[in-house]
Symmetry: D2
Subunit: 393 residues, 4 copies
Amino acid sequence: MAKLWQKDYRLLKEIGEFTSGEDSMLDNELVEADVLSNIAHVEMLNSISMLSAKEAAELKKGLKEILKLHKEGNFKIHCSEEDVHTAIENYLTKKYGDVGQKIHVGRSRNDQVISDLRIYSKAKLLLLGEPLLDLIETLLKFAEKSKDVPMVGYTHSRKAMPSSVGLWAGAFVESLVDDLRLLRTAYILNNRSPLGSAASYGVDLEINRELLRELLGFEKIQNNLLYVNNSRGKIESIILFALTQVMLDLAKLSEDIILFTREEFGYFTLPNEVLLGSSIMPQKKNPDVLEQIRARYVQVESGLFMVLNILKGLPSGYNGDLQLTKEPLIRGFKITELSLKVMDIIISKLKINESNLIKGFSKEVFAADEATRLAKGEFSSRVKSANKGGKNK
Amino acid sequence: MAKLWQKDYRLLKEIGEFTSGEDSMLDNELVEADVLSNIAHVEMLNSISMLSAKEAAELKKGLKEILKLHKEGNFKIHCSEEDVHTAIENYLTKKYGDVGQKIHVGRSRNDQVISDLRIYSKAKLLLLGEPLLDLIETLLKFAEKSKDVPMVGYTHSRKAMPSSVGLWAGAFVESLVDDLRLLRTAYILNNRSPLGSAASYGVDLEINRELLRELLGFEKIQNNLLYVNNSRGKIESIILFALTQVMLDLAKLSEDIILFTREEFGYFTLPNEVLLGSSIMPQKKNPDVLEQIRARYVQVESGLFMVLNILKGLPSGYNGDLQLTKEPLIRGFKITELSLKVMDIIISKLKINESNLIKGFSKEVFAADEATRLAKGEFSSRVKSANKGGKNK
Amino acid sequence: MAKLWQKDYRLLKEIGEFTSGEDSMLDNELVEADVLSNIAHVEMLNSISMLSAKEAAELKKGLKEILKLHKEGNFKIHCSEEDVHTAIENYLTKKYGDVGQKIHVGRSRNDQVISDLRIYSKAKLLLLGEPLLDLIETLLKFAEKSKDVPMVGYTHSRKAMPSSVGLWAGAFVESLVDDLRLLRTAYILNNRSPLGSAASYGVDLEINRELLRELLGFEKIQNNLLYVNNSRGKIESIILFALTQVMLDLAKLSEDIILFTREEFGYFTLPNEVLLGSSIMPQKKNPDVLEQIRARYVQVESGLFMVLNILKGLPSGYNGDLQLTKEPLIRGFKITELSLKVMDIIISKLKINESNLIKGFSKEVFAADEATRLAKGEFSSRVKSANKGGKNK
Amino acid sequence: MAKLWQKDYRLLKEIGEFTSGEDSMLDNELVEADVLSNIAHVEMLNSISMLSAKEAAELKKGLKEILKLHKEGNFKIHCSEEDVHTAIENYLTKKYGDVGQKIHVGRSRNDQVISDLRIYSKAKLLLLGEPLLDLIETLLKFAEKSKDVPMVGYTHSRKAMPSSVGLWAGAFVESLVDDLRLLRTAYILNNRSPLGSAASYGVDLEINRELLRELLGFEKIQNNLLYVNNSRGKIESIILFALTQVMLDLAKLSEDIILFTREEFGYFTLPNEVLLGSSIMPQKKNPDVLEQIRARYVQVESGLFMVLNILKGLPSGYNGDLQLTKEPLIRGFKITELSLKVMDIIISKLKINESNLIKGFSKEVFAADEATRLAKGEFSSRVKSANKGGKNK
């Protein structure tokens, strides 16, 4: 059988390289997802008699071999193969013959890419929960142990009122908990099966979309076939927005720690194990790691911006522009996961310098309380002595 | 009693103008929210004996007057007053004397602004549901009546496979329904009471935050006082992201309609009542309205990025930079609401030209189906005749 | 004579309001430019006998009246008129009769808008030179007087090596001088006459584009008629990029001053006249003005990205989307001009606290010099005593 | 001699990996620049007697070996080495002993990175001229041969007036010529020697900055040492803006060609050698290459946005965040260069279908000319027969 997409002309080398872009590298991240979606597709094709039981068994055997090879680091996508889909088909065809070509019957490449990204993102969103909850726990412990350690509260980068280290750390806990909700919303909207959409206009086969959904554990089918392609980029942007918010919190936390560990403050001390030296100044211990988290927030945010702008002006249906949404998504997951882990190390090793924190309390810090006391006296003699606990009600 | 924030020096006129920015104009949108939050605050101050029953009654009377004046268009925030908070205090003080000054006891201006934005956003998010559901309904009706009208399906801006007008319209329904979930998430995260946070470090009064929350109908208290200020901008960005997604859908819909109403397609016809003429070409009927929706997507998206970038590099606690997040938020709500209404008019008046749609079906459109049929024959004689219905399973 | 663009149907009110947007307000900024371009057009029409000498004289008289009214604040663009072009034509027609309608013969509205923006931008770019050079001069004076005032030099927000206040201030001088080159490039690319392009495809009249160029003092004609429209947005983005760079410098300067005026540093003191008080804390003197400059950088930058993203996906020729590029341009000029003036006030009043600056020199600051001295000894005994002057060679 | 930046503690592996990021890969692009800047530095150190003639000769010999190895693809930067600077020092030390360590005397790593980026960017900006001028030439030829081929001119995506293929193609020539000026401005601002700035605060050596400038052929010295670091990111953004403008033109050209090669237009035909097939539809020939250029505009623009936002909120002096500006710069150059070459191929092979272009002329296209003719008759009988040539004056 001839390849359906074989053409009778040769693509110019320059064009081929340009259009394949970084896919052969990026797709390495998608091997597992692609194998899973292919196994489900094979089952379904068998259920509608487009593959015999023997053919299906062979293909599944081959796919499992690929997964094993991949986990051992031995499944390579060659530049010339361009993407994971071709690499897998080539493997199967080489080893099992013509049946290998049947793996993509009834599927378009867009269908395959979207399915892979959904499966990949679903796993990554779940996995991100772990380092995020770890960091929340570490911050909670830090806040608990420092809840009575006094710290100047700032507004407008100026000393404002008395506060505590615990209040400061607790603010990030509450913020990260809000991010969990954003990640959950992204998870829900991503948890829809695109399988069976082909090129958005179906195929002339009795594709069983419900079976595909069930096999891959998606919550729902993405019903409208055209919306499957129209949602490409949209779902990526929803995920990237949630990641951006996590990074925003980490960046603010970094900003604060960079400030509070300056020589002029000395409120906290960073452990030597996370600091970099200088090539020219022997005394320097630089918080590059925190500066980079700050910049990596921008990197994830730029990925979001890139996806939203790629979508700008695109008509309905698949458009080749969408190929470039893969990279910011995969990069966004990697950066966020790594940044969470790195921040967990930093917070767990951050040293609190109580004496410096207390030195920060110059007398202006109490001016507002003093003023309130005066005001209360004037307003009403009915008010009993101020209850500090009231602050946090 | 002297004003707490009175200073013994005069602010330079240029600096005053620069820092107040567009607030006197924007705050007109926040009068209702500010009155509501003030009424709750007055109740609470009375409950903790910081205001007598008589004082509280006077202040609430005054606040209701302001609301009435505002609804009649007669409550003006003067440039010199800078913001709604000062304008309200001035009104109350002028009419009711010194008690007017007590309205802001225990509150910082940030606290007031955040409360206003939460109350305002809560109402706006709820109200946005109406035009959004209207448009969904209009699109559903359009899809229903056109579900059997054939239309070429495109990929890569090229004719791909047979499809229908109904499938096209339905894609936007499913996309807008997904947006509802994003709006709901934004609603939930915004539905937290910031009242009583003062400048993020509490005040030396027994503020009853639970009473404030209850009076204003917020679902929860935003617990950590510092997080109240740290979430400024964050919550706005979450709302703006949801609005951006709605606008993204409207922009894609606009892109498609601009294309399909071109003379070269003629698939649909826009009604004259939504088209603009040309100053130089008598025959022209221009879809400015759709082009603007496309551009307004970018406007809301730019507002989102403005907020995200304002937050970049800011330390914890209130910072004056945050004042500039108000404008993109208010503008975002206005644009989205108006765009939804305008799109509803357009879809309800969009004419389908079935004969042109059918003319679009050149023979290549059937090539994939033909290929599949051949493939099926080759793969397996067990396959029964193709079932078109299978496409949408 | 009937209006060329009059249509036999009525535009829906909602659509009209949506598509006119903020133009009636924004166009107030363009009255002067529009009068100038109209006068040139009238001259040219007269030169090619499309207007009689008497007609041309009447129209020029009317246009000068409009300019006078505008300068007195008495020329209003009504919402219903939508833009400055209609307002001017209405004024002329009302006062001088049918000849008023001839003012736009051979012009499209795009042609008018582009011409206005070019004339407006040319003037604004020139005018911006004054506050920019003023600030450079103020910074130079500041650097000169503080060139021997020691200051710790920082890298990674950590004390690094000995430096001076003069070096710090001088860095901004050199940066702003670089910005002048960007502004100049923007000026050159904007200094092209678009007049006579009509809707990009010319008109069937012997328009004398060279005369129009000469009358308005543009350096060159923008030759290709289609490029006139294709460059809409492009030129705005080039201008906005130069403005963004100016704001970037002001934002960095603000960041530094906010830091160095913190209680923990006390290197500089901001004058009371530029500081805002707090509504709740009597002691607070907040640098809102600097925080806002920091945020206004983002505002101008967002305007740049709005323009770049509006252009994304647009085909050649005028598209209605471009109407929305006006606002970020006009806003960008306003913010940058005002920010420069405000910064000039701040720098000219910034107090240097030499004793605090000296207190910043803890012994680590000299570690690098010490290390270099050791290294030099080791490397070579040929090296004479270190020459501090060598640093700035 | 012990390494100056050797510390007595071990950096955590996770932190080391996080902070080195993609540098070992990216720095492969900078080997040539780094060798050049090192040779200049060695010469200068020798001239001030910090290196003996023998030492200088050895180091230069080693550096030339590295260059040779690099050109043969045999100079590898190991992940553990992190960057090109360490890799080079390691090579020299291993082969030539302790003298290898002297190569970085008086330099900080920032100094090295900035120097490399300037040298690299200077070369890349020059080299970009070639494909840009090639494309301009190809477009000029295309415009020349098609100047009399009629084409409908569009506004608002609607047929507007008669135009020509030549006018359409010529618009891009004029736009790309404008980009040359932006690239030239970027070239000028980049053409400043940062060498000798060390960590922005000089070193205690008689560094001869003028000799360094001369040896490397920079036009000027970047005078203020602190500005050298403050301009990091700023110069990158200026370059990226120029690249963004080139990509903007290519994206608009792509947009137009995608449209005009649609089946509904058929104005142009793309050659098979640049089209991709479909995995499911045998007839499809997809313009992925043009869609990707459209998306790659966004990729370069996102890089610009990333750099501008990384700079947001950074204080003066080097900050670790800046390390992340390298990647968008290098990527921006690669994409722009490749896109220019690819577009050159496309334009040189683009087929013009004159008969389809003529079919596009429905009678409305002449309505404006007709209206003008009527208007001219009414206005003035003095006007002679219309001169089509007037259009382009």
